[in-house]
């Protein structure tokens, strides 16, 4: 099922479906004569991108940087919080309460507050990205840290390993698969957060490009930015999958790959 031949075959099929959809879109737009302001043809979007590659690259880079910064911070904070939650009843109650309250707020609605606090630079974008990405990392990491085979727990106790040794030798490595599951959700949330941050204020990034193009009814440019966002989202997710394959080749989900 997973031999290289089928893999090649699968990606060929994916590519063909993709090309067919693009063709249908192109032909549909041309035949129906729908106004480009409503729906531009793929060829027009491609031309838009080709005409200003430097511009789009710069704006994309800005969004990618705030996404990655937010994701990395969320990862760091999330793992530390998860360790604290697993380590102490008292901290567990405190952190969960705060996290659940934060998470039940529509976090997007907090974005304007961050602009007031942090200005129009990259900081509020990163902050919104962190806020959106944090929850899934904490939840999944806590689950991973808590799931230890009872026999392994017995082994740890018989060896009289303390809390730190158990954490480093058993719990953290054992939590890696769950952590990756959380990261895969978190990376898309971080991208959403970065865009929301740009929507609320600032002068760079693909979110800003969309906002300005919308004001000018430049639908083609909106589409160009959307295409780039799609590519960025898919690429980040794919990078995580590669990291997963390299870091946890031992996990059941990775073995037959």
């Amino acid at each position: 099922m997973n031999d290289p031949d089928t893999k090649l075959h699968n990606s060929a099929v994916t590519a063909m479906v993709f090309v067919a959809l693009l063709l249908a879109w192109e032909v549909g737009v041309r035949i129906s004569g729908v106004a480009p302001i409503l729906l531009p043809a793929p060829s027009a979007v491609a031309r838009e991108l080709a005409n200003a590659p430097g511009f789009f690259l710069r704006e994309s880079a800005y969004t990618v940087v705030s996404t990655l910064a937010g994701f990395a911070l969320a990862l760091l904070i999330g793992v530390v919080l998860a360790i604290a939650i697993v380590g102490s009843r008292w901290l567990e109650r405190l952190i969960w309460t705060v996290l659940v309250v934060l998470n039940s707020l529509p976090k997007v609605a907090l974005a304007p507050l961050f602009v007031i606090w942090m200005g129009l630079g990259v900081a509020p974008k990163v902050a919104v990205a962190v806020l959106l990405a944090l929850f899934s990392i904490v939840v999944d990491t806590v689950l991973g840290l808590r799931t230890v085979d009872p026999d392994v727990t017995a082994l740890v106790r018989i060896s009289r390993a303390g809390w730190l040794r158990e954490m480093l030798l058993i719990r953290l490595p054992g939590a890696l698969p769950a952590l990756f599951a959380g990261m895969k959700v978190a990376i898309s949330f971080a991208l959403v957060g970065a865009i929301v941050g740009e929507f609320v204020g600032g002068s760079s990034g693909l979110g800003t490009v969309i906002l300005i193009a919308q004001g000018q009814f430049d639908t083609t440019r909106v589409f160009a930015a959307l295409v780039l966002l799609g590519i960025i989202g898919a690429a980040l997710f794919h990078l995580l999958e590669i990291a997963e394959r390299l870091l946890i080749p031992w996990h059941l989900s990775q073995r037959s790959r």
């Binding site: 026999d151 392994v152 106790r157 009289r160 390993a161 058993i170 490595p173 996990h251 073995r255």
Partner: protein, 261 residues
């Protein structure tokens, strides 16, 4: 009779209650068992009779509700020094290589893995796994995995080895192999072993003495000495003496209503 030495493991009047929503479950009652240094004792009994519970009390993972458990005269209040345990499911760590799974016994005790690598490799070699040191658990068969678990248990040279149905999940042939390897290991080192099993033949083949437990609550119904010469090999199972031991234990089980004939 005058006691000249303190037994290695001693349990007197051992009782274990597990609290539960529908009142307490009595898992063990009136357990009296002494195991001498270097002795191989098997706990034989049906499922649910408290064999694992007894083993966990010796390991210091559980406390008896009444009675005393001690090792060399010291009451067992927490996991004592110098014990190791082998479980039915091998409890290997998926993310560690085979040698990594062996040396973790040292790392969990705060030693550096590198210092124990040679000893780990020697153990793997002894159990026919030298070529697999850098493989991962999922690449090994059930029997090989259980050998690794035994190597892990032996790494820190425990004085007491507790084994909870270590071969229960293996097929008969692999089980025979491992019985032979275990008995070879034991004959060379003479550690104190408490071995839990469902299998009469396995218990007779391996043990110096066999404690037969019955259910509800678990108590020791019979303590049988195994009078078979050592060193033993698989050939001993064909002897009349072996058959007599097995027949005797069968009769005990039938008398207790634990076996339908």
């Amino acid at each position: 009779m005058i006691r000249v030495s303190v037994p290695c493991i001693s349990i007197a009047g051992g009782e274990k209650l597990y609290p539960s929503s529908r009142g307490a479950i009595m898992a063990l009652r009136g357990i009296d068992l002494d195991v001498a240094d270097g002795e191989f004792v098997s706990l034989l009994g049906p499922s649910g009779c408290g064999k694992s519970t007894l083993l966990r009390c010796i390991a210091g993972l559980e406390q008896l509700s009444a009675g005393t458990a001690s090792i060399h005269g010291q009451p067992i209040l927490s996991p004592p020094d110098g014990i190791a345990m082998v479980f039915q499911r091998d409890a290997l760590l998926d993310w560690r290589s085979i040698i990594g799974n062996v040396v973790i016994a040292a790392q969990l005790r705060g030693h550096r893995a590198a210092l124990y690598r040679d000893r780990g490799m020697a153990l793997l070699e002894r159990f026919g796994l030298a070529g697999f040191a850098d493989r991962y658990p999922w690449e090994l068969s059930g029997g090989m995995r259980q050998r690794v678990a035994i190597c892990r248990a032996l790494l820190m040279e425990p004085t007491i080895l507790l084994m909870d149905e270590p071969f229960g999940a293996l097929d008969a042939m692999t089980r025979d192999d491992l019985n032979v390897e275990l008995i070879r290991m034991w004959q060379a080192s003479r550690r104190t072993v408490v071995f839990v099993t469902h299998s009469i033949a396995e218990a007779v083949f391996l043990s110096d003495r066999i404690a037969v437990l019955s259910r509800g609550p678990g108590r020791i119904e019979e303590l049988m000495k195994v009078d078979l010469p050592r060193p033993r090999d698989l050939g001993v199972r064909e002897t009349p003496a072996f058959a007599a031991h097995v027949a005797h234990l069968r009769a005990v089980f039938t008398r207790l209503g634990l076996m339908t004939t």
